[in-house]
Symmetry: C2
Subunit: 345 residues, 2 copies
DNA sequence: TTGTAAGCGTTATCAG
DNA sequence: CTGATAACGCTTACAA
């Protein structure tokens, strides 16, 4: 069954192809009458315009790509769902491209832009430490979502949406300190992470300092590079090592809820209790942090808001309605069962 | 920066466009020499062929769509990751389209096929109860993944990959019975689910019957239609209702791990213990079922195998290497901490 | 082995 | 308001 084209429709309606095109695309220059008639015929024949042809003709296709660095972390799933919904709502196509931890996401983006004639790009995750000249090869608007940027980048060169990773991390560690914890372990990103990983580490250090606590680098444990980043397994393995080491601590702050859950597993396996023996805190505020037993104290990021704002900014950029913007959402400390006050001592 | 085209490359190389095209597409009729030279120029200029143009020319674009019915259930995420990897590996584009619970996925598929000139489709989730004539409007190969089909469909008309939902469900309930449970609640799909929901319910009934246990419909609770299906929240709400009812039971079998975790939360909130007061079992074998506290007894579906086989069959179908196939993978009962033997009585 | 030229199905330009 | 017709960038007969 050869597919039906706009020409077929035009013939059936006894009009020119232009007119059919106008009907499809809601152009003003067409009478309501003919338009209704054409739409009727289109519906009856299940005609759907060929996307490739449209994209070829339009200089840019109506598609947005979302590039995710590293394998899916649960928090991203919520974001992605919102992206998808919003993009579909705007009648754009949506391309999800996961890029491996070792790959260069910018490289991928540049290729994809040409290949698929993208209208916009969302970068999710990763560090985004790229040379400026390479960044300039990207000619479509893009927004960095939940990727904290360090100072070396000119804020007028890109847009971003995130929480204040430094502040929120500080908030959690400050809370833990206020509960009497003096030896707080951190499950952090790998050391080469100059993005949120670094910011959260800095927040941790600052909070410690502000409470007059010494920074003990033996309590800072990085995720394993050979395991999926931010995964439960990673948290489990790292915590297990920590527990087996001689280093004492009373609380663990993991920079994602998934890591925190892995940490819990390791602690339970060691025959210890949470929060009586160890307090455990996470970051993100994904569903499972609430459902876990014990429920996990965490920093809840407003995922829906973040995702919606990301898309909003991206489309504003596409329509040239705005210059570069850096939207920072507040996150919320949610205290639950996995942490407790301990005796000063 | 106007994009560079195949013509530009041809000019730069001092050859015809055909030659460039041949170089790009690994055609045989070209000397290694010219090919190398052309590829070199392409690389230097960061040329990437316009996908729309290629797709327009080729009668079908090299793209596979995965349609997911209903909002993402954690189990699907693993499948999707594998799909993505495999499809990318085959140099095909990958389109992920979530379709709302109320929407007709077949309708969406038919549109998408025309619009994007798909080469193949994977259906994930849903019941897939469609009229044969409508099914015939789909002219590209498709594979049903983890969608149990009931008898009324002719197995020669479609391909599928899944576990034996009836058998695996039976296996779990049989296990629970063997542990002395006589009053086993079921958190099942909505009653209009004629697919895996129904099959798992049938497996439950059969196991009960084989153990000489009466079927008590008050112990069969359906997910709430107004909540995300298969979600933790759904399991939580349903279980809460169940606990507040007068109906006695000693075990709950939830047809997904997420539901099971929600159930656990409700039980803990009621001040009860797992497994001492209630045994809880899930289905799927997602990571969190292992990491949860207590770890959840479940049926582990071989997600990677299922996903890989789905893609394999789809491509075999595309290349006409096979007729319709129904691959059924065995799943595994994984006994963990959330269930226990109780006294006969 | 290489090049020329005709489409693929749309949309946009411009003349009726 | 409507309709020819020329692109859009690529693949592929067909010719050389």
């Amino acid at each position: 069954m050869a597919s039906i084209t706009i020409i077929d429709i035009a013939k059936m309606c006894g009009v020119g192809v232009t007119t059919v095109s106008r009907a499809i695309n809601n152009h003003p220059d067409i009478s309501e009458e003919t338009k209704a008639m054409i739409m009727q015929v289109i519906k009856e024949n299940h005609y759907v315009p060929n996307n490739s042809a449209r994209n070829l003709k339009r200089s840019a296709s109506k598609t947005i790509a979302v590039l995710i660095k590293g394998i899916t972390n649960a928090f991203f799933n919520r974001l992605i769902q919102v992206f998808e919904k919003e993009i579909q709502q705007k009648k754009y196509s949506f391309i999800l491209q996961r890029v491996d931890d070792k790959e260069d996401e910018l490289e991928v983006a540049i290729e994809l832009e040409k290949e698929k004639r993208l209208r916009g790009i969302v970068f999710l995750g990763g560090y985004f430490s790229h040379a400026k000249e390479k960044l300039e090869q990207l000619s479509v608007p893009y927004v960095l979502c939940t990727i904290g940027m360090t100072e070396e980048f000119d804020p007028n060169e890109y847009s971003s949406v995130s929480v204040d990773d430094f502040k929120e991390s500080y908030k959690m560690v400050d809370y833990l300190c206020s509960q009497g914890h003096k030896k707080i372990a951190l499950i952090s990103a790998t050391m080469d992470d100059v993005s949120i990983g670094k910011l959260r580490l800095e927040g941790y250090k600052k909070a410690l300092a502000d409470h007059g606590l010494a920074y003990n680098e033996r309590l800072v444990r990085c995720m394993k590079e050979d395991l999926e980043s931010y995964s439960m397994k990673n948290g489990y393995v790292v915590t297990k090592e920590l527990l087996e080491s001689e280093d004492e601590f009373t609380a663990i702050f993991a920079i994602s809820d998934s890591l925190a859950i892995g940490a819990c597993k390791a602690i339970f396996e060691a025959g210890k209790r949470i929060p009586e023996d160890y307090s455990v805190a996470g970051f993100d505020g994904v569903d499972i942090s609430y459902y876990y037993n014990p429920s996990i104290t965490t920093i809840r990021q407003p995922a829906e808001d973040i995702a919606e704002e990301t898309i909003k900014i991206l489309f504003d950029l596409i329509h040239k309605k705005t210059t570069h913007i850096h939207k920072v959402f507040p996150a919320e400390l949610v205290v639950r069962e996995s942490t407790m006050r301990i005796e000063q001592g």
